[in-house]
Every structure is written in C-alpha cells, then in structure tokens.
C-alpha cells in the first residue's frame, strides 16, 4: 500500500475523517493506530520490529538521562550497537555473507532475510533521538505513546523525511486546530507530489528501465540520455514522495521537513548535498561527519577529506547492500573532498577571470549537474559491470530512435508540459517559481494538475525508488 495506490488513498481519507471526528485527546491515539495499521500491511513482523526498536530507544533515552553523565556514553554505545546490529542484520546480512564467502574456502550458508520497509529511516531517526539526548539537546520523551508516534507517523515512515525529535514531538503534543489553509496547502502538495511521481517519474522510467535492463545492447548518446533521464527520474520520484508525505503531514496538522530545494541548481557539490535529501544529509553531517571531524582534527585538510570519505561511503551503503551504492558514495566523497580543498582557489580564479558572475553560476550548475548524473550511473546500474560498461561506452553512434520507440508524441509533450507546470509549483525551484498562491490562477493551476494526473498519470503500479532503502 503505497502513496500512489488507490488503497492508500482510501486509507488516508478514512484516517483523516476518523482523526477529525475523534475528541482532542484521542486524536494522537487515532494517528498512532492508523500508523501501525498502515505499517502492518507490510507484515505484522515488520510492525513488531518497529515497536521493539521504539521501545529500546524509549527506554535507553530515559535511562541515559537518569544515570551519571560519565556513564551515559556506555548507554549510548549500547543503544547504537543494538540499532546498528538490527539494521545490519535485516539489511546487510545477505550482502556480508555473500562477500565474505568470496574469500572463504568453505563458504558460510547463505542467509535470506526479508528487509522491513523503511527500517533505514526509522533506525536513523531513533539514533538521532539518542544522540540528541546524549548531547543534551533534548530531554527524553517520557510518554511512550508520543514516542511511538514520533517514529511511526505514517506519512514519513517509509521514506522519511528523517525528522528530529525536537521538531516533531512538540508538534505531536500540540492540540490539533482545524485550519483550512493548512489543509489546502497539504492537498496542493499531495497533488504536486503525485504529478511528479505518476506523470513524470513513472513515465521517464519507461525509457530508463528499457536501457538499464540491457545496457550492452546500447552505446553512445542513448546511454548518456538514459543516465540524464534517470537523474531526473530519481529527483521527481523521491521529491514527489516527500511532497505527498509533507502534504499529508499538513492535513494532520504536522509540519514535516523539506527534503529538496532545487538540488540540480546547486553550483557545487557541497551545495548539492544541502539541497538533496536534506534531512538525511543533515543527519550525516551532525551525527557522523562532525564527530569524525573532531577525531581527525589533528590531520588538517586531509583529516577533513578522510571524514568526508568515510561519511559518504556510509551514505552510499545506507542506500542498500550493493557495491554500486558504495561507489556512488565514494564518488561523492571524492567530489566533496576535492571541492572543499579547491573551492577557495577556484573562487579566486573565477574572480580574476572577469567572466560575468551570471555565466560563472550557470557554468557551475552545468558542471555540478553533470558530475551528479555521472555518479547516478553507479546508483542505477543493475551491476558494477553494467556501470563500467556505460561509462566506457558513452561515446559512439548518435541514434535516438529508441527514445521515439519508448515514447509517443503525446507522452513527450505531456512530459514537457508537466515539468513546465511543476517548475511553477511552490518550492520546486525558488529561482524560477512564480506565485501560484493567489486567486483564480491557483485554482486553475491545480485543476490542470489534477487533470494531468487523471489523464497522463501512469496507472501501472510502480514503487518509489527510495522505497527499497
């Protein structure tokens, strides 16, 4: 039951009306019940695991604050161990055994574990909660119900945003006030998110899947185009999900964090990671990169590069148990390290070159975008072999007939129209957005979007890309 299914639509509407009808103090109980009910669709065992992880975090959180400060670190490490072990077992056990067997004469028996959906997201959220308590940024939550809801709130359970307790728990505790504007904003975000997913991302996927499923049959511009198109597909897919999650949050009176701010308009890699999957990047920065940096502070600039590389290797691995993701992370680590080391020099060079600032900015956006698209080849390719094939066959014949075999003229026009309309949606790309928040133009804009969804949305079930992470 995903956001882009009819079942989810019925579930969300029912949950909202039950939530509205429930008396004030019962509203959060309704949300908690709805969240666990929703998650149970992915397996009761998954729901039990979420509940167990929540209990562990809850009790470690309370205990950590009740013991002497010198002993807190042991509790923190204990909690980290339990969480990471859970994540490693459910997400990486198969991958680890498979890779270890490569070096063993007598291989270990293969492990088959079904990964609970969303585990990476709620484990990271739990860890953030425990770190914040340890760092005394927040007080532990004493009400189990609120804490359970903090981790399980259904709009963000499967794919984030990775919310901080300091942001979400106070909102959960606040009484619900019916606010037409908030609900209207929520519905608008849901519509925009669905258009991004069903009209754009799912249709772009036709071409991308066709090429990436059989890369050896293609070369040249087709592979370049498929890589670029995937770069857009993943943005529309993931940001579409986030929009829907945020929209649903608003309807229930909860403001979830933004995850994207026109990331492909970033002028360098640092900026890209400030605009792409923002809550995840911020998590890595606060709870991994910063502690690592303080450990490596004696190594100067190379310490920074080391911390960056480790952070991004883990960032890559977080996406899934595959070497492609690790390489993706390391590439970004290398980009980031180089960028940090050379940014000052590059800025000086551009200043001296007297090229107009506007042109410099455009050039930097172009270069950054291409670097990102290149790294996504490892992210999307079915195997390392495929990724290497793509990168070594980017030059060759210019035959784009496959593009016109994948799409009809109406599909190409509808994609262009949808992207043009989305470019004007609030928050899509602040630099080029227009105000659609007032008057008839707003009603017309969203009326067009709803019709795009009805007539041009891909109805075939297609899970979100980040769903498997």
């Amino acid at each position: 039951m995903l956001f882009n299914t009819f079942g989810y639509f019925v579930f969300a509407i029912t949950a909202f009306f039950v939530f509205l009808a429930a008396p004030g103090k019962w509203k959060r109980t309704v949300l908690l019940t709805a969240s666990y009910f929703f998650y149970s669709f992915f397996g009761v065992k998954s729901a039990l695991l979420l509940f167990s992880v929540s209990l562990v975090s809850f009790f470690f959180g309370i205990t950590m604050r009740s013991v002497r400060s010198s002993r807190r670190i042991y509790y923190l490490w204990g909690a980290i161990f339990l969480h990471v072990a859970t994540l490693v077992y459910f997400k990486y056990a198969e991958f680890i055994v498979m890779n270890v067997n490569y070096f063993l004469k007598e291989p270990l028996s293969p492990i088959h574990v079904i990964m609970p959906i969303g585990i990476s997201f709620y484990i990271f959220q739990s860890l953030a909660y425990l770190f914040d308590i340890y760092l005394e940024k927040i007080q532990p939550e004493k009400h189990l119900g609120y804490f359970l809801l903090y981790l399980s709130f259904f709009p963000k359970l499967l794919q984030g945003p990775i919310e901080r307790a300091s942001q979400l728990i106070p909102q959960l505790k606040r009484g619900y006030v019916f606010n037409y504007n908030k609900i209207a904003e929520g519905v608008q975000l849901i519509i925009v998110g669905l258009v991004k997913k069903m009209v754009v991302a799912d249709r772009l996927a036709f071409f991308v899947n066709e090429i990436f499923s059989d890369v050896v049959n293609f070369s040249g511009l087709v592979l370049v185009l498929a890589s670029y198109i995937f770069t857009f597909q993943i943005y529309f897919d993931f940001s579409g999900y986030t929009d829907i999650a945020r929209g649903l949050g608003k309807i229930f009176g909860i403001e979830l964090s933004e995850n994207f701010q026109a990331p492909y308009l970033a002028t360098n890699i640092q900026e890209f990671w400030r605009k792409w999957h923002i809550t995840f990047s911020a998590w890595l920065r606060d709870y991994l990169f910063t502690p690592l940096l303080s450990q490596f502070r004696n190594f100067g600039a190379w310490g920074v590069v080391g911390a960056v590389l480790i952070t991004f290797a883990i960032c890559g691995l977080w996406h899934g148990p595959a070497w492609g993701f690790v390489i993706f992370g390391l590439i970004h680590g290398a980009y980031m390290g180089t960028s940090i080391l050379t940014l000052k020099k590059r800025n000086e060079l551009w200043e001296r070159s007297r090229v107009p600032a506007g042109w410099v900015r455009k050039w930097r956006i172009f270069v950054t975008f291409n670097m990102i698209a290149l790294s996504f080849v490892f992210f999307r390719a079915d195997s390392m072999k495929d990724a290497v094939y793509i990168l070594t066959h980017l030059t060759g014949p210019v035959d784009l007939s496959i593009l016109f075999q994948a799409y009809s003229a109406i599909e190409i026009l509808s994609l262009i129209a949808a992207v043009a309309l989305l470019a004007k949606s609030p928050g899509f790309a602040p630099a080029i957005s227009i105000n659609t928040n007032r008057g008839l133009s707003q009603q017309f804009y969203y009326g067009v979007m709803v019709n795009l969804l009805i007539f041009l949305g891909v109805k075939k079930y297609a899970p979100f890309i980040y769903f498997r992470f």
Partner: protein, 374 residues
C-alpha cells in the same frame, strides 16, 4: 472539541477549484471522445453494421477498444444468416465465399476463456426468431476447457462479477465501473500510441475503414463478420519443434497443463448444445488445425499432450451425444495444409477454410431450416 469552521471565501475557493477541475476534465474527455469518434473507434455497433451492409468492402477494426459480442449480435440480427460460425479467434477468418449458396455470418469472437462458451450461448439467446440460424459451424479449442489456464480460474474477481451481475442495481454500477475502466484504458493506450493517428482523423470521402486499425492497415472485420488480417501483416516464422516443446513445458498460459477437462466448461458447452437442439439448429463442430511445428510439439509434450488428447475425445463424444458431428482437423496433415496456410502457430489464413468447409458443408445439405441449396 473545536468547531470545524470554514469561511465563505474558503468555501468559494473550494467550489471554484472543483468547477475548474470538472470543466477541464470535461474538456479533456471531449477531446478524447471527439478523436475516437472521428476515427470510428466509438461508433455505435448498429451504425458500424449498417455502414458495412451499405459498403461490403468496409473493414471494422478499432485500435483502442475490443470488439465485443454485441457487434456480432447486431451483425447476425441484421443479416439474418442461414449458417453462422461460432467459436474462438481461430474460426474468425471463415467468410461468406467459403459457404457459397447459403447466407453466412461469422459470429466468432476473440474468445480464450471458458466464460466465452456462455458468451456464445448469450449471442444465440439474444437473437430474434427470424434471425436464428439453421446451422452453426462451431470452432472449439482446448483452452476453453482448461481448468488450469489462469484466466479460467474462478478467482474472486470473476466470482464477484457474476454475483454483481445477478443484482440489477449492482449490475448497473458494475457496468458503469466497467465503462469507466475501459475508457481509462483506452485513453492510456491512445496517449502511449506511437502510431500516427492524426492523418486518419479526417478520412477521404470514400471511407475505407471504421476504426483506426482498419484505416491504417486495411484489415479487420468485414460485413460478413469474418476477420481479415491486413496485407501488411507478416506471418510468424516457423520454429523448431524442440523450441515449442520448451515453450509448452513452461506452462504457457492457454496450454497450462491440466489433468482433466473443466467440468463447469463442459456443462456450459452441453447447455449450448441443448439450446441448439431445442431450436432445431444443426451444429457441426470443428477442431481447427494447428501449424505443423506446433502440432508436433503439442502432441508430444506431457502432460500437455495428455490433456489435448482428452479434449479431442471428450468434445466430439459430447457433441455426438446430442446427435451433432464433430470434425477433428487438429493435425494439419488431415487437410494437407502447409506452413504457408498459417499466420502463426494457431491461426489459419483465409484460403484453407475453403478446404475445411468443403468437407463439412455436406452436413448441412438436408437441413430443412437452410433453404438454399448448398
């Protein structure tokens, strides 16, 4: 509990949004429907049949819609044939010229599930007394009786469908749902269609086809209900028998292995024969030929071959029990057919039907309800 209050201006905003959305929706639907109508895709079946009677050369073949039983019912109803063909897509190429002398209409449909046996009975029951034929050439295939063919399984959807159809009010809702679902699918197909439809939107005054496929490729259903592949249609290549064996062994959909004939399908079939007997309609069954390469594989891969053998025994004996003959031409050798006589492993071209009909028409010679001398 705090009251849920919405101001007048907010209500107005919601109303405007609703109106704009509905207006745009209607506009989009109008554009789709206009295009479909211009292409002849959604022309009512009565009009299609009427136009085809006026111009016998006119093909009917929509691209975004399936041709339903109703088209065939209108066809039989208006042409009042003496002999009709009923059965699956394999009987559909049979045409008037194969039955010189008697008025013929091919009411075969693109049938592949056991439910279609009931559909054939529905066609007969829908006919007026004057339109009831005197003879039927019944083309029967094994998959109609295969309980393991996934489409034949009595899943919850088909159970729900048959339950809904029994209650008039719910049947109405279900029909509306089906209409919307079919339209939605057609719109999706149209949007994703890579072919050029624009040039066929305004056809020349001398209309050559109804429906986009008919206009594009000059093929489809003719006025006698027979189906004609367009000249541009290419026959499938003959395959190695071993390749077909592997294909069948993978339990390919209609040929999924089954131990026995589906008793429900057999009952429906007997119901069809019983209806014909009470109406004094002469039925001649035909098990149509398969292409040689496929036939060899079908009769040599177990357990598929076992089921096919049972089918070849059960169906003719069921027909014989009602006093009707059944010809087994499954083997292409029975009619001296070559690979050139087939479009693919299952479907015959037009010409070989002449040979087949020559063999079976003798069965209709003494039928009092068929007035014409065959």
């Amino acid at each position: 509990m705090r009251r849920l209050s919405i101001s007048d201006s907010e209500v107005r905003n919601v109303k405007i949004f609703g109106l704009v959305t509905v207006a745009l929706f209607m506009l989009c639907v109008s554009v789709f429907e206009f295009v479909f109508l211009r292409l002849g895709e959604t022309l009512p079946y009565e009009d299609v049949v009427r136009r085809q009677q006026l111009n016998e050369e006119l093909y009917y073949s929509p691209r975004y819609f399936n041709v339903g039983d109703i088209y065939k019912i209108y066809g039989v109803q208006s042409s009042k044939p003496e002999i009709i063909a009923l059965g699956t897509s394999r009987i559909m190429p049979m045409e008037q010229k194969h039955i010189a002398g008697a008025k013929f209409y091919n009411a075969g449909v693109d049938a592949s599930t056991s439910r279609e046996i009931a559909g054939m009975l529905k066609i007969l029951k829908s006919l007026d007394r004057e339109a009831m034929p005197g003879g039927i050439v019944l083309g029967i295939d094994s998959w109609l009786f295969n309980p393991n063919y996934p489409a034949n399984r009595q899943d919850w959807k088909s159970r729900m469908k048959s339950s809904l159809e029994r209650i008039p009010v719910l049947a109405g809702f279900y029909a509306a749902y089906q209409f919307v679902a079919q339209r939605t699918k057609s719109y999706d197909m149209f949007i994703a269609d890579k072919g050029s439809w624009f040039e066929y939107l305004f056809p020349a005054p001398q209309e050559t086809g109804i429906g986009l496929n008919a206009r594009m490729a000059q093929g489809g259903f003719r006025s006698d209900g027979s189906f004609h592949y367009p000249d541009s249609h290419k026959a499938d290549n003959v395959r190695e028998i071993s390749e077909w064996r592997q294909w069948l062994a993978r339990d390919q959909y209609r040929f999924t292995a089954a131990a026995d004939i589906d008793p429900n399908a057999l009952n429906n079939f007997k119901g069809l024969l019983e209806f014909c007997r009470t109406k004094n309609i002469k039925v001649v069954g035909v098990l149509l030929p398969f292409r040689g390469d496929f036939y060899s594989a079908l009769t040599s891969v177990q357990p598929q071959a076992g089921f096919f053998e049972k089918f070849r025994k059960t169906i003719p004996s069921a027909m014989n029990a009602f006093g009707y003959p059944c010809y087994d031409f499954s083997s292409p050798e029975a009619m001296d057919l070559t690979t050139e006589d087939f479009w693919d492993n299952l479907h015959l071209k037009q010409t070989p039907f002449g040979k087949i009909m020559k063999r079976i028409l003798v069965e209709f010679h003494d039928e009092p309800m068929i007035n014409t001398v065959l």
